[in-house]
């Protein structure tokens, strides 16, 4: 490929891709009309991605809230199948993703590892969808004539801020446990990671996730994290790779509606961990008398 995308052999001009965000099942640009440049590590201009606004985030929350009860009530078996379907779709587009990752500076082998790990991670959480309740739920031996049991329930709408170092893996390792737990999610990808994230939107949109279950935004971290932490209709905030200052600000801001806050280290440790599902579910305990 030459600089302007003319194929040297055929002389044909490539059709470029416009990277769009995924909100409520629709591929959209930012309502603000703003865009960000994405450059390769060497400085070469790769294209534009959207710069999501506060309004885009709020729209995404509306879409996620609308989808929340339907997804929460989707059977665990079907949730698992849809997560597995996402793995199938990603596997089918593995080559594209390797190319995308290489274009933003990954070596061929690093790109391959990132993509295969992301696929395997989807398979891993697909398998948890109909099992974690058995691990984390309980029947409780109360000392009175009652049947008493505790189950997990989704928190509702979760905002997730993805890291930049692992554009695909950070995103998948965040999304998969959140949606396996029955929540809907709005993610934010930043910097170069945004191109991989927007590409993933096309995988997720063809994986049978109902519209609004997964919403992908890209933009500036410093512009949007505060919005995520203060939004009154978001139940939890999970962040990857926040510095101490951002963590403190987010924890304080989350107090506004007591949304649950989980800062995670961006070191990839614990990608495969059912306790991540436990983070964004609630425990509900039910009592009923036993008697005639």
């Amino acid at each position: 490929m030459s600089g302007n995308g003319v194929n040297k052999k055929s002389g044909r001009l490539d059709v470029r891709k416009t990277y769009k965000m995924l909100i409520g099942g629709a591929f959209v640009r930012s309502e603000s009309g703003r865009a960000l440049d994405v450059n390769a590590p060497g400085g070469k201009w790769l294209g534009h991605v959207c710069r999501a606004s506060r309004k885009d985030f709020r729209n995404a929350v509306v879409a996620a809230r609308k989808a929340a009860s339907g997804w929460a009530n989707t059977t665990p078996y079907l949730k698992g199948q849809i997560l597995y379907r996402a793995a199938e779709m990603l596997e089918g587009r593995a080559t594209t993703f390797r190319e995308v990752l290489q274009s933003i500076g990954f070596s061929p082998s690093a790109a391959k590892t990132e993509v295969t790990q992301a696929i395997d991670l989807l398979v891993y959480y697909a398998g948890w969808a109909d099992k974690y309740l058995q691990i984390f739920g309980s029947v409780n031996p109360v000392s009175s004539p009652y049947f008493n049991f505790s189950v997990t329930e989704p928190m509702g709408v979760v905002a997730y801020v993805s890291g930049e170092k692992r554009p695909l893996l950070d995103l998948v390792s965040g999304i998969a446990p959140i949606v396996a737990g029955g929540n809907t999610v709005i993610t934010l990808s930043t910097g170069r990671a945004a191109v991989a994230a927007m590409e993933l939107g096309e995988v997720l949109a063809t994986s049978d996730f109902p519209h609004g279950v997964i919403n992908l935004l890209c933009g500036l971290r410093e512009e949007l994290v505060g919005q995520m932490a203060t939004h009154m209709d978001v139940n939890a905030l999970v962040t990857q790779g926040a510095d101490a200052k951002e963590c403190a600000a987010s924890r304080g801001a989350c107090a506004l509606n007591l949304k649950r806050f989980f800062p995670r280290e961006a070191n990839g440790k614990g990608d495969e961990d059912p306790y991540r599902i436990l983070d964004t579910v609630e425990i509900k305990t039910t009592w009923h008398p036993v008697g005639g």
Binding site: I135, S143, S144, N235, C254, A255, L258, I283, W287
Partner: protein, 488 residues
């Protein structure tokens, strides 16, 4: 049945006084802070009085802890953690908790009487609920101390460190147990701040720790008001903060911890809906409504303070409720016949009376029973509001008193919509004889504890805690261990 009938019957069959005796123990005139295994005065020498809300008499003078005292207590807890408690085997830790459980059982009547004198709750409740449950919490958690490896499959659990715990005045000793038992079982040490209106049983608990031979500094108790609690939360030596109380204070604590790594769990307010369907066993449901809102004078975060009743049985339920309420005896907490004791403090009594006024100003209709109340002390007659709207403050805000808001509904979906339409999510109730409907409603209520065909039941093995603005973290059961361990 008409109201007149009921009240006539009531006067025909009065109860003779049946006071529980308080002569089998003697309270001290003053109590110090419990730091490093010893009772010590506050550095400032300041004290405050704790009073009996049923007669406004002073019971004892209590040391008022300042910042320096908090610092001493946290340091004592740190030393005990580093040198003794974290190194001790789970089995040995557990044995201390078993000892504590046993001594609570042995001193049960003393603890029950003091609880009722200091806090105003009826002796029947402190004797039959608070104290036995407190002992049960220690007994339950004692057994976990050497079995934590089984509580978290695939993970290794280790203690967090020093926990600062702040508890409210509604279940003073029971909250000590809910907080302290899991913390110690998991290998943490504790600095506890009881509420300023009900410090006595926490201080008796400190004596119990001495009697049990608990190593010095593993449990520390600092008494004082909100400023003492604030100083504790602010202390950089804490690895964990656990708070039970109002949502406003919980939010302030989360904000003040924002820049720190200290872990936090919050058990906050509630505004539970108790939903009665037309196919419920109505008489049982009425008992459930009574227990839901009038248990412990309604000073219960999980109280069923909103009644949602299906329109077709609304009149029947309200009439039966009125009749049942007229039988409730308000008065001396130490009388075994008393159903509703004293309001915990003057401030809380005023707050409840404010809400009674607010409700009427908003256009709701107030019903109060006609029972006599003593002249001295703080009292509120059992009350409910009808003709309330979802947006009324008495529907949206926690009153924390014997005041019920009654709304009606036509369909199950409408009931759920109304039940979930508050910022809270601690508990809920449903009454119906249809099994499938029970599951639909218990699933639909966004709250951490749901009682179906019962209300206000508690057990150490049963996780308790809220959704949404009722806080996060669970207390009790296997899930209640999670806030007190690090997993790796």
């Amino acid at each position: 049945m008409t109201e007149t009938n009921i009240s006539t019957k009531g006067s025909d069959w009065g109860y003779a006084p049946a006071p529980e005796s308080a002569d089998h123990f003697k309270l001290k005139e003053q109590y110090g802070l419990f730091i490093g295994g010893k009772f010590v005065p506050a550095g400032s020498g300041k004290r405050f009085a704790t009073t009996n809300p049923a007669n406004e008499k002073t019971l004892a003078h209590i040391a008022d802890a300042g910042e320096k005292d908090v610092d001493r207590a946290v340091k004592a807890a740190r030393t005990a953690y580093d040198k003794v408690w974290r190194k001790m085997s789970g089995r040995e830790r557990g044995k201390y908790l078993y000892r504590i459980a046993r001594i609570i059982q042995e001193r049960a009547r003393e603890l029950a009487v003091v609880e009722s004198m200091d806090g105003g709750k009826p002796i029947r409740e402190s004797r039959d609920v608070d104290i036995p449950l407190a002992a049960a919490h220690f007994f339950y958690h004692a057994g976990w101390a050497d079995k934590l490896g089984y509580a978290f499959p695939g993970k290794t659990a280790s203690p967090i460190g020093v926990a600062g715990q702040i508890i409210p005045w509604n279940f003073p000793l029971l909250m000590v147990a809910w907080k302290v038992a899991p913390a110690l079982a998991c290998g943490n040490t504790v600095v506890l701040k009881p509420a300023e209106t009900t410090p006595l049983t926490a201080l008796l608990f400190a004596e119990i720790c001495q009697e049990a031979g608990l190593p010095d500094g593993v449990f520390n108790c600092i008494t004082g008001a909100g400023s003492t609690g604030a100083a504790l939360v602010k202390h950089p030596g804490l690895d964990k903060v656990a708070f039970t109380g109002s949502t406003d204070v919980g939010k302030a604590i989360q904000k003040s911890l924002a820049g720190r790594s200290a872990k936090l769990t919050l058990e906050l307010g509630g505004k539970a809906a108790n939903i009665i369907f037309e196919d419920a066993a109505i008489d049982q449901a009425v008992e459930g409504i009574i227990n839901g809102i009038f248990f412990n004078q309604g000073h219960v975060c999980c109280a069923g303070s909103r009644l949602l009743v299906q329109e077709s049985v609304e009149q029947e339920v309200v009439e039966k409720l009125k009749a049942r309420m007229e039988h409730l005896i308000v008065g001396d907490p130490l009388d075994k016949n008393t159903d509703i004791g004293a309001i915990n403090s003057k401030a809380q009594c005023e707050r409840i009376r404010d809400y009674l006024k607010v409700g009427q100003d908003e256009g709701a209709e107030l019903f109060q029973t006609k029972c006599p109340v003593p002249e001295k002390g703080y009292w509120v007659r059992p009350s409910f509001f009808t003709k309330v709207a979802q947006s009324h403050r008495i529907v949206q805000e926690e009153i924390f008193g014997p005041v019920l808001a009654i709304q009606s509904f036509r369909t199950l979906d409408e009931a759920l919509e109304k039940a979930n339409n508050t910022p809270y999510g601690l508990s809920g109730g449903v009454w119906t004889d249809k099994g499938a409907k029970i599951f639909k409603v218990t699933r639909g209520i966004k709250a951490g504890v749901i009682w179906a065909n019962t209300f206000n039941k508690f057990d150490p093995s049963s996780p308790f805690g809220g959704y949404k603005e009722s806080g996060y973290g669970r207390e009790g059961g296997r899930h209640g261990l999670r806030p007190y361990v690090k997993l790796s």
